[in-house]
């Protein structure tokens, strides 16, 4: 793999994303809402053990859960399918560049721009907390940023898997939005429904939660921000007692990395090995 070609594609993707009006709108919305969250979260004193940076981060988690997976999965979904539909992909491939260089460059280019928007939102909110003389541990806040970045990687990876299988951008967007709904909106309901219907034990519920990267992010974020893990409920208590607070965090962190790597790796194989042709 030629790193110069990877960098070229990465730069092109990042440039295109930063010029994309939807991406600009998303970044502005996310940043504005992050500031709004900051405003509300700094109005009172300590709530449920959170204060200063911790409370702002806890409030931002819900925002991240809605926005980041949506933009990541959709941007990933159209990344390759749109080029395929436009005909720019075969044209690019007629030049001395390999599919693996295109794939890696695209993924990194888009990921960096999403990370940029996350950093902007968290950065503005963090700056606000600092200006207001915010208290609390900044490490939890930084870990939440890292987890949000990882969540973006997970959903971008899922989006890429959708993209390599789609010949049209509209189809990729449809599937991506469905997956977003499935993981974000229906995820909680699904776990609750399955738990009640199948009379699952705590251990099974915990395993079920691990199958959803958004749930994993939620649990991990709460865990890094709160010294009181009992707010995670019986499943959280079970997990912390079984693996220890640090152990659960490492487990969740590893699962998020797997969620980022497995769909991406499979998408890579499909794009570069199984689907050799680009008409």
């Amino acid at each position: 793999m030629d790193t110069k070609n990877v960098f070229l594609i990465m730069r092109k993707e990042a440039g295109e994303s930063l010029r994309n009006r939807w991406f600009i709108l998303y970044t502005l919305c996310f940043s504005a809402l992050a500031l709004l969250v900051l405003l509300f979260s700094t109005m009172g004193g300590e709530i449920a053990g959170y204060s200063g940076f911790g409370r702002t981060a806890a409030s931002l988690i819900n925002l991240v859960l809605l926005f980041v997976p949506l933009i990541a999965v959709i941007t990933g979904g159209i990344s390759i399918s749109q080029e395929r539909e436009n005909g720019t992909l075969p044209y690019l491939l007629s030049h001395p560049i390999n599919k693996n260089e295109i794939f890696v460059g695209k993924f990194l280019g888009i990921l960096i721009t999403i990370w940029f928007s996350i950093l902007l939102g968290f950065g503005l909110a963090g700056l606000g907390v600092a200006i207001r003389g915010g208290e609390g541990e900044i490490s939890g806040y930084l870990l939440t940023i890292i987890l949000s970045a990882l969540l973006a990687a997970c959903f971008l990876s899922i989006g890429f898997l959708v993209s390599v299988y789609s010949g049209k951008a509209s189809k990729a967007i449809g599937i991506s939005v469905f997956l977003w709904l499935f993981f974000i909106i229906l995820g909680d309901l699904g776990i609750m429904g399955t738990t009640v219907a199948m009379d699952l034990g705590i251990k099974q519920v915990f395993v079920l939660a691990l199958l959803n990267p958004a749930e994993v992010f939620k649990i991990a974020s709460v865990l890094v921000l709160s010294p009181r893990f009992e707010i995670l409920g019986p499943v959280g208590v079970y997990a912390v007692r079984t693996f220890g607070q640090q152990g659960v965090f490492y487990l969740l962190f590893s699962i998020m990395i797997l969620w980022a790597l497995i769909p991406l790796g499979y998408a890579y194989l499909v794009f570069t090995r199984f689907r050799k042709e680009e008409k």
Binding site: K4, N5, L8, K12, E16, N86, G87, T88, P90, Y91, L93, S94, H95, P96, I97, N98, K276, E277, E278, K279
Partner: protein, 299 residues
Amino acid sequence: MIQVTDITKKFGNVVAVDSVTLNVKEGEVVALLGANGAGKSTLIKCILGLLDYKGKIEIQNRNIKENLKLSKSLIGYVPQDPLFYDMKTVDILHFFGSIRRVDEKRIKSLLSLVGLEDHKHKLSSELSGGMRQRLSFAVGLLSDPPVLILDEPTSNLDANAKGDFLNLVKERKNQGKTVLFSSHRLDEVYFLADRVLFMKSGRVILDEKPQNLANSLGMRAKINLIIPEGSISKAISILTKEGFGSVSRNGSGLYVEVEEGKRIVPFEKLMQARIPITDFTIQESSMETVIKHIEENGY
């Protein structure tokens, strides 16, 4: 330079390219002719490594499957309908130039060559069809590759843009580039090609020099001669006697079908008989005529 050996490409059960073998020598310009669906574009995409295929394709004696990147660096490709990212003209050249490792000087000289210097800050979507095709040609020439592959490059161009584009290609031909191009148009073939390969149903059914193509296919030009009313019957009689098979009256003149390369003969015969010709038009053999001929007569 380009050696294609027994290439077969299927899409499901449809055979798009069927056991094609061809050789394009260094410095040679070869035209791929054929109707829509004959397999021209599919063959080109196989040579570019965009499609998987059965058989062997070599560029400069290197199997492209084993040396895909290197092979692609030897080829400049101009597609039928160039599709660029929505970037400025100069940025498109920089982007592809970076992939092909060329410097700023080369990009400037190519912008000048294809006459896009004044449009270099325009977005690709703001360029006309002719400009986009010239930009595509400039991209194809970035690394000064020895092989140019053009897939119906003038099909979306108007007459002026087409003429300009063909002249650009002709200059490359004169510089010794190896060119393989597909076309629907016989005039382009006569203007550029050293050799013509006619494709039908995925197979190459004719390999001929352009000047022999008309005779090989029995192609005829239709000449409409305008002559004084009183001389028309005599003219028909003379031309029929001279062996022109299809001579017929047409208003104030007559139609005569002539083998390619013998267009001057009816003029000579009528002038010898002192029959004045006041005007004339020539209807060239079209690609459709050629295809129809091959469809009807096979080859």
